[in-house]
Amino acid sequence: MSPAIQNQSSSFAMAIALLRRDLLLVYRRRSDSVTVLVFFSIVVSLFPLGVGADPTMLRLIGGGVVWVAALLSAMLSLPRLFSSDFADGTLEQLVLSPQPLALTVGIKCLAHWLATGIPLALMAPLLGLQFGLDSDALWVLSLGVLMGTPILSLIGAVGTALTLGLRGGNLLVALLVLPLNIPVLILGAGAVDAAQSGLGAGAHLSLLGALLIMTLIGAPFAAASALRISLD
């Protein structure tokens, strides 16, 4: 057996190495994740300043406000997905990795979700308290954000892959991706609303789950072909 085969790292090892490197990078660039969370809390606390502090009204708009802020924060952190790799040439090596590109994109989105999605989901209930949401509404809010942010990362991956290297790219990504994230916003905010009005958020969260599965199946392939197009 020629030595070339002996050093062959299995597909699993490739995936783990990529995930490990990305999480190591997230750890080394901790300040980026903190800025996303700070942005999230600033945007949320702007609303009471804007619309007034009447508690009943705040309770009504609480879920929607936190969700819109979560959407914008996820949008803010999208460039970290591919743009830094594109700039320093790592993305080319990623595309030349023997493992399927859709899997590579999926792992990048997983790393991005771990770095931004989970912190947003943990932070959301804290900010929900500012709006006087009761405990089960906060629970549904956090669960919704936890399930919604992977969808934002996956659709964001398609957006950033399409606009790699373009001038004014970040603004363009928001223009491309926000309309596609509207169902996530409606279902997420609707879940909190339903939990508050006692209807129970089961329907909304299960639909959000269905949307997550659908996006998990489709988006990596779309992002992979978008990457190939951009690097052509």
């Binding site: 790292s9 320093d88 040439g89 790592t90 080319e92 990623l94 030349l96």
Partner: protein, 230 residues
């Protein structure tokens, strides 16, 4: 080390960038053990050709055959046989040199143990810089981290895009020796460079891209223009 039967065939390759027809009708056979230099003016498509062979960009026409299989069909097998180094050295600023190298190799499908990696880095004169984040390394040092894979890999086909950039004289020598060793063992190396280098090899080839780029012919024969660009 690479087997003696590997053969790289380029059949009537054509490359279009935006609306410009860079080259067309590029055909040649590269048997194992050959050292191929791609020459041409700036913008003649040297980098495009290497990227096209690696599979990063799609040829406007023609095909690339490796071990008698079209590389676009047997993509993952082909990718396990090539080592592509582009202009950018794919180094993450926040990672240590060894971390960068280990991650890049494993992601490319070739895992190496830490001692092997450290040994190669020391050999390339990076010994005392191992615990420093790549951010504070010079361009030449970063280039050496990227090139360290050349000493580690067992892969037969190398595609090196201007590997000698930003390297000092000693590193250039080391790289030339390593390439001639690789080619001597039956490997194939396609490379581009702007500085004169002497790499010892018994089968030297050059691909002069300017010869395959005839704007007049493309212009007079609209079908070429139509088929490829419009």
């Amino acid at each position: 080390m690479p087997k003696g039967t590997d053969l790289l065939q380029l059949n009537k390759l054509a490359c279009v960038k935006g609306e410009r027809l860079l080259f067309s009708g590029l055909s040649c056979e590269i048997p194992s053990g050959s050292l191929v230099r791609v020459t041409g003016a700036n913008g003649a498509g040297k980098t495009s050709l290497l990227r096209m062979i690696a599979g990063l960009s799609e040829p406007a026409a023609g095909e690339i055959v490796w071990k008698s299989q079209n590389t676009r069909l047997s993509r993952s097998e082909f990718l396990q046989d090539i080592l592509y180094l582009g202009h950018a050295s794919a180094i993450k600023d926040e990672l240590l040199p060894a971390e960068n190298l280990m991650a890049n190799c494993t992601i490319q499908g070739e895992a190496f143990s830490a001692p092997e990696v450290h040994a190669v880095l020391e050999e390339l004169g990076m010994g005392e810089r191992l615990d420093v984040e790549s951010l504070s390394l010079s361009a030449g040092q970063r280039r050496r981290i990227a090139l360290a894979r050349v000493w580690l890999t067992h892969r037969p086909l190398w595609l090196l895009d201007e590997p000698f950039n930003a390297l000092d004289v000693k590193s250039v020598e080391q790289l030339c020796l390593q390439i001639s060793y690789h080619v001597g063992e039956g490997g194939i190396c396609l490379y581009t460079t702007h500085q004169p280098v002497d790499i010892v090899s018994n089968r030297q080839l050059t691909i002069p891209l300017d010869a395959f780029c005839q704007p007049a012919k493309a212009q007079s024969d609209p079908s070429v223009l139509n088929g490829l660009i419009l």
